[in-house]
Symmetry: C2
Subunit: 202 residues, 2 copies
DNA sequence: ATAGTGTTTAACATTTTTGTTAAACAAAAT
DNA sequence: ATTTTGTTTAACAAAAATGTTAAACACTAT
């Protein structure tokens, strides 16, 4: 028999539907301890289908986690190895991060909680290659004076912090500072320019 | 009968011991779904003592969460309302954050996960007062030219991001970039200067 | 010493969450 | 039509986590 996929009315095969729903709950809504029942409900399917497709809750989690890592890595990779000039690369990365963040704001936090529970990191070599390349570029820019001289790693930390923190910590910021959704959206929209100015000086 | 506290050999009353252990697990080790059994084991006490002292798991969580909020707020407050000049305040805040982070690196992440599960924010007025004061100072510094002109909130976000992200995302950074513990410690030690330069220009 | 108080423990009960099985179901191929 | 294959469901079983009770314990004050 051909392994033709049964296509659901909602144009999504059940397996995908479950996976995407789990992603949405974890990365989109930050519900890191969603039960199988909650995931099934959110997906509108019977709970035991999770076992049917993924054997166990743990397997589903593993897969979702693995996907997340891949996506993060690909995203970064495609930008770093692009032919854009340095500053444009950074802009691209910021834009791209914000797009991603709109859908999955809690991705990074989830990765951290998973690492804390003893997960391992996947594509080590790929990451190594990327970092090496980016370090080189950073060194060039520093000697050109585009950016302040510092350890390349420090620049990277600055950049990622400025981009990701206000996204993943949104509930904390927004509630602490009593901001409406609209106000916070506005703040995020303004950040690209702020970040560029902060990283490169004005 | 006097409510004299029974003092444990480890110079800590059991109730405190449990609370501190929970804090250590949550904020120190990032084990956000520690079971009552795990907490009890880590504290070296019988599991049912958690029920005895805190009624339920939820109550314990509530208390720990509330304590965390208080501590964060007090910390910030004492610095903001100090008589230090602006730049010194920031330095103080950085130092203070790093000290705190040594013990409880995952505090912020925990706060976020709790907010996501429908917790509320406590001392709203206190926070309001603090922000107002800090906004004023920021505006002064901007007109003096000490820092770039921008929305005060953006400066705050920059500052907190640069400080907190590399701490709470340590597992992510460290593993992604394949750094040893020693290497990462070194990086954190260097950050104070980096952050000051990034916020104020060199 | 012992009565009184608060603390700790172990045994039990309950609830919540997860996993398994067999039967019902739907679509396609023979 | 009925066999085959894969999907979905409901009923059940098992495991994990939480909560309750009563009895044992330890310290203090009388």
């Amino acid at each position: 028999m051909l392994n033709t996929m049964y296509i659901k009315n909602k144009d999504e095969a059940t397996e995908e539907l479950i996976k995407n729903t789990a992603k949405r709950l974890f990365f989109g809504e930050g519900k890191f301890n969603a039960t199988t029942q909650e995931i099934a409900d959110a997906a509108g399917v019977n709970r035991t289908l999770i076992n049917y497709y993924f054997r166990s809750r743990d397997k589903l989690f593993e897969i979702v986690f693995s996907d997340a890592q891949d996506k993060e890595q690909q995203r970064t990779e495609s930008i770093i190895f692009s032919e854009l000039p340095f500053k444009a690369k950074i802009e691209e990365f910021i834009d791209d991060s914000f797009v991603m963040a709109k859908e999955y704001p809690y991705m990074e936090i989830y990765l951290v909680t998973q690492f804390n529970q003893g997960c391992y990191f996947k594509d080590e070599e790929g990451m190594e290659r990327m970092l090496k390349k980016f370090y080189e570029e950073l060194n060039i820019e520093m000697s050109k004076g585009t950016i302040e001289k510092m350890e390349p790693i420090q620049f990277i930390i600055n950049m990622v912090s400025l981009i990701s923190f206000p996204i993943s910590m949104r509930p904390l910021f927004q509630r602490t500072m009593r901001l409406t959704d609209a106000e916070y959206e506005k703040i995020l929209d303004d950040r690209k320019e702020i970040i560029m100015n902060t990283l490169f000086g004005k």
